[in-house]
Symmetry: C2
Subunit: 142 residues, 2 copies
DNA sequence: TATAATAGTTACTCAAGATAACTATTAGCT
DNA sequence: AGCTAATAGTTATCTTGAGTAACTATTATA
């Protein structure tokens, strides 16, 4: 019989890494009164520029109502604002100047946290792992 | 200035892989009327044997009330049961025979899903990535 | 021009988790 | 031995993050 007892599933390892990571990330973000879902959208808008709800939804793999709620919160905080889209249905969003400066501030905390946690893992190993994580994402989404 | 625009944080890549993965995993598990949190506990009990709530809590990085709720559900389903612990406070749990057979059945679905999604990623790359994910987990938990 | 599709919102539900406060039991001092 | 600490688990309540269904408004298309 297949010795399943000794075999650790790839995805189980992913789950086991993800939970403690999320816990710690939330602690870092809470110092800036932010949550992970908000942070993910700020990250996307900072790096990719203005985007519609649908684009954000597809990128983050969440449904539209989830995007509406989270981005409303970013608007209330003054971190995101609407820009003209290609028609009147679209609601294209971008970070405000305040949003960008908050991003950079929080990003510094996140980078520090990241350095702590990647100790003992070489630059090559990190890049290799990022490459594989991207490949897995693409496999799932295709 | 540091060219932060071009730099993708390691953890952002992790988040971007995790969401679509969790979505698909939930679809696989829902065919067996299970949720991720339940599945994680079944996985642990199957591979590590009987465990207390505290052990499960520490392993999964969740608080005790979360464990109580999830394991109660597994008891209701007839998948988990109590075994005598070392004192009367402890509630040591194990999978029932039914629980074990359900585990193996679901595990077959999960393995199939996993094979699909790891296409194009070599055995060595998978093992390397598992090794690094374990190292990151250990760094966070220490 | 009537119908389709697209973008976003509203209302509601749910899973998964947290914290605080509690009971019951056991361990450790003095 | 007896009081205090610590440990294991539960209950009650709250929050985040997400989903589905049904809707409005706008645009594309047959």
């Amino acid at each position: 019989m297949f010795p399943i007892e000794s075999f650790r599933s790839f995805f189980h390892q992913m789950l086991m890494m993800y939970r403690p990571f999320e816990n710690k990330l939330n602690i870092v973000l809470s110092k800036h009164q932010l949550y992970r879902a908000q942070w993910s959208i700020m990250y996307y808008l900072f790096h990719e520029g203005p985007a519609t709800h649908v684009e954000i939804s597809q990128y983050l793999s969440v449904e539209k109502p989830t995007v509406t709620r989270t981005i409303s919160r970013l608007e209330e905080l003054g971190y995101a604002e609407q820009v003209p889209g290609k028609d009147r249905r679209e609601k294209r969003m971008q970070l405000t100047e305040l949003g960008k400066s908050v991003y950079l501030e929080v990003r510094a905390s996140v980078d520090e946290f990241e350095r702590d946690i990647l100790q003992g893992i070489s630059e090559e190993e990190q890049l290799e792992t990022i490459r594989i994580m991207k490949a897995i994402r693409n496999n799932i989404l295709k």
